[in-house]
Structure formats: structure tokens, C-alpha cells
Amino acid sequence: MATVQVGEAEKVYIMHGVRDDLRVDGRGCEDYRHMEIETDVVSNTDGSAKVSLGQTDILVGIKAEIGKPKPMVPDEGYLEFFVDCSANATPEFEGRGGEELGVELSNNLYKVFNNKHSLDLRSLCICPGEHCWVLYVDVLLLQCDGNLFDAMSIAIKAALFNTRIPKVHISEDEEGGKEIELSDDPYDCMRLNVENVPCIVTLCKIGHRHVVDATLLEKACSVASLLISVTHKGTVTCVRKLGGGSLDPDSIFEMTETGKRVGKMVHAPLMELLQKEESLGRERTKVGFLA
């Protein structure tokens, strides 16, 4: 993971601040940094979104392709995640340096989405056992300043919301052979229901307290963090302890409680924002990458 070196005195300073609910950048323990979201930023994908959270910058592109359903679940489509750690984000990612982190991040994404209600995978089925939509979710890290998971999950949710899958019609000829026909009308497309897509909240244990949305600096002061993915209803779909330290059972309970509360609060404004952006339609001025 991208890391920074922190001196002992600076650590103590950060930890004392956290103890008094005042962080280096002026936030409280449960506050997120300023967040910017823009969808439909890459025109050659079926859905995309760019999220910047403080100095962390993430781009997500989704491509829908027709594939074969997995033999165990013939009536469902599936998602594939790939996280690319660009060397632009940090020199550490140069060459194969980012590979390990990328695999770790994508593995966790699989876990977060590995349940029945996050996304209706049945709606991705075209013809049971033969054809289904495969959504390739490609995450690109453009800049890392901590809290990659939270930013990633929000970007994925926004990109899924933005995704438009062309409608297909299956026609059968006389001999029973099936043929897939793609709709000619580019506006005749299917949208995904992203209501249940979870958001990840990562809590970093610093001293005796925990903080939301830790920067790299703050992360360096913490030995263990807890990743919690929460749906808008407050259902927890995934929990992972990350890092080499251990946690007190009581603080785990406190952290899951906070995680659920914070996670639930993220969803409503996010959906509102996404809907608002869409209602602007084509009039919207695109900000792009230079914002």
C-alpha cells in the first residue's frame, strides 16, 4: 500500500488531535473530506464515474460484454473487477509495484459484491445457460491519499448508476437456433438498480479512537483498520480487519456501530446527487479531469 513516513513527534501530534476530536485538517472523527463526483466521463465505456475525495482520485469505467454464465448459476450474469494502480498515483506503483495492491483491492471488491441483493444479477441474464452480460468494472487509481476503499465503492456505485446496457432481443429461427440481436436505438437500453449497492466505510483505529476517511498521514499512525461495507438499509455485507495490528472486541463493536451509521448516511445524498446530475441531462457542463 502506498505509504508515507511519519516522525514520532508528528504521530503524537496527530494522535492527540484525534483524541480531542480535532484532526489535522480540521475535521472531526466522523467527517469525510470534500468529495466530488462526476459521471459519464469516459465516452467509450457503458458507464463511468470519477470521484475525488480530498487528494484521492479514482476513475471507474464499466464495460458490458456478452459472455457465458457460470455453470453453477446459469441464470445470472456476473461482475469482474480489476483495479489498476497507475504509476501516476505514486512512484511505488511503477512496474509491477502496484500489482499486489491491485489484486488485494479487487479481491475485496469481489467479497463486497458477493451477495444476492447488492445487484440484481438475474437482470443481466440474456438466455439462461448460454448468454449473459458480464460487467467489467475497471478501477483506475489516479491519485492516492488514503481511504481508497471508500472512494472506490462510491465511484463504482456512481458508475453502475450511470451504466446503460443495450437491450437485446433473442429471435428464434425455424430450426430452433437462437440469434441475438442488438437494439438499433442507442436510447433503448437497460438501467441497473443500484439502490442496494453497498458503500464501504473504512475506520482507522488511532490511539483509543477511530476515524473515518483517514488520510495517508493518519493511516501511518494506525496499526489496524476495519473495512465495513454497508447498504442503504444498514445491512452489513462485508467486514475485514486490515493491517497488522489487533483490535479490542469492544472497539470492534464501536467501530461497526459507527461504520453502519456513517455508511447509511452516505447513501441518501449520493443517490440524490446522482439523480440531480442526470436530470441536468445534456445541458450539463462537463468538468472533466481538470477540475
Partner: protein, 272 residues
């Protein structure tokens, strides 16, 4: 797919016979009415068999059997670290390699380590790390190799226990043993130490999931926590509590096994 020419290859495509079973004999759901196998209560762990020091070539090793789940672990080192680029050389590294034998699951697995195994390796390392005094081994690495010979559920949890026994057997300095316990939540039912059928059973319940906890029993610290599925926060907390209890229940067996190995090693040389 790259061709694996370092192994004897079979046909390009082969399918497990399990895919062609008559539809009615498919794996059943977690039925709430029927009890667990072997008249086990929902909160009971399976009888545990644990031994240290079986692999003659290793610095330390352990074998663990819980029901049909069979896990073997060996520890090598501390030896010189292979990775020189690490910035933090002040403390040692714990390198974990978690493998499922190809014949360990109902469906045959590949020899090449897949993403799931790599994921489990990381989870194992993060669970063990808080238990080991790694600062005592600067510039060194300790290798922990785990092979699951038969997976009948709760593999990660038992792998954690087994690995910490092997670390102790290898004489690696530790703050505490690390114990693992798994749980399957299905609506209001909590099944501790689930077997594979319980672990993988399909469930349409709103509140269901899988939890794995790694615990340092004496320090009362949780060193590993994984939960998947869809759980309410209150049942998640309850599940973690139940897992902690489960860990404490297997502690005596683990202690005994380690003690036995120590006694064997410390036995005075026979008089001549």
C-alpha cells in the same frame, strides 16, 4: 490461458461429475428444523484433534483435524528475507502461503494458486502477525506454509489455529497463541464451526452471512475479522461474541498439544 508445461496435462476441458447429478439431489438448504450432523448443538465446535511437530524437515509444524477438515502447517525460519526493498527492516516479516490441495474440495482445484487462496494467505498473515513478536527478528522472514488436505468448512479459522501452533512449535517468540473460529448465520440461527454443507448452503434469508474471527485469548484482542453476506449490525456483533466464546473453547486442546510437544522436546537424554 497459458499452457502449463511443467505438469502432466490432461484433456483441455473436463467437468466434475457433480454437475450432472439428478436435479433433486442438489445440495440442500440450511434447514432450520433438522439438527446438525452428529447431534451437535448450534453453538458447539467439532471435536478437535491437534498435534505439533509432525514434519521432520520443518522448524515447527502442526496438524489439526476438526471433523473432516484436515490442515497441516509447517514453519521455516527465521531466515534472511528475500525481499530487500522493504522499507521497514526493523521488524521481521511473516510470509504466509495458504494452499488448498487439489483434492480437498468437492470440485477439483487447480495446482496454481488462485485468487481465493492468495486472499486467504493475506488474511492468515494479518491474523497471525499481532501474535508474533516480529520485532525480535529484524531483517528476517518467517515462512508459514499451510496446506488444507480436506476442506469440510471453517478452513481459514482452523488454519489460523494450526499455524499459530506451528509457530509456537518452531520456537518463534509470541505474545499469545492465535485461535480461529468461524460461524454461519442464517436468520436467527448461529452455527458455530460450520461444516462445508452448512458453510456453502444457499440461503434466501435477509439476515445471513459468514464470520471468521481470530483471537489472542490472553490479551483479549481480535487479530482477524472477516464477515461476508448480508447481516444486520446487531447480529454481526452477536456473531463476533459467539466466535470469541468458540475460540476460548478450543484453547485447552491447543494448549495441551503445544505443551505435549514442548515436553517431548525438553525430555532429558536417556541415560547410557
Amino acid at each position: 490461458m497459458p499452457v502449463d508445461n511443467k505438469r502432466v496435462r490432461g484433456p483441455e476441458i473436463s467437468q466434475s461429475p457433480l454437475l450432472f447429478l439428478p436435479p433433486d439431489s442438489q445440495i440442500s438448504k440450511v434447514s432450520s428444523s433438522s439438527g446438525r450432523q452428529g447431534a451437535r448443538g448450534n453453538g458447539d465446535i467439532r471435536p478437535l484433534f491437534a498435534r505439533c511437530g509432525l514434519v521432520s524437515q520443518a522448524k515447527g509444524s502442526a496438524y489439526l483435524e476438526a471433523g473432516n477438515t484436515k490442515i497441516i502447517c509447517s514453519v521455516y525460519g527465521p531466515r534472511e528475507t528475500e525481499r530487500k526493498d522493504e522499507t521497514d527492516m526493523k521488524s521481521g516479516r511473516l510470509v504466509c502461503d495458504f494452499r488448498l490441495a487439489p483434492f480437498s474440495c468437492p470440485k477439483r482445484g487447480a495446482w496454481i494458486q488462485n485468487a481465493e487462496e492468495r486472499d486467504l494467505s493475506t488474511a492468515l498473515a494479518e491474523s497471525l502477525q499481532p501474535g508474533a513478536c516480529l520485532h525480535r527478528y529484524p531483517r528476517a522472514q518467517v515462512d508459514v506454509n499451510v496446506v488444507v488436505l480436506e476442506n469440510d468448512g471453517s478452513a481459514l479459522a482452523h488454519a489460523v489455529t494450526c499455524a499459530s501452533m506451528a509457530l509456537a512449535d518452531a520456537g518463534i517468540e509470541m505474545y499469545d497463541t492465535v485461535l480461529g473460529c468461524a460461524l454461519r448465520q442464517d436468520e436467527e440461527r448461529c452455527l458455530v464451526d460450520p461444516d462445508l454443507a452448512e458453510e456453502r448452503a444457499e440461503s434466501s434469508a435477509e439476515n445471513q452471512g459468514r464470520v471468521v474471527v481470530a483471537l489472542l485469548p490472553n490479551l483479549n484482542q481480535i487479530s482477524g475479522l472477516q464477515a461476508d453476506g448480508e447481516m444486520r449490525e446487531d447480529s454481526l456483533t452477536a456473531a463476533v461474541r459467539t466466535c470469541v466464546e468458540g475460540c476460548h473453547r478450543l484453547y485447552p486442546v491447543v494448549q495441551q498439544a503445544i505443551l505435549r510437544a514442548v515436553k517431548k522436546k525438553a525430555a532429558p537424554p536417556p541415560e547410557k
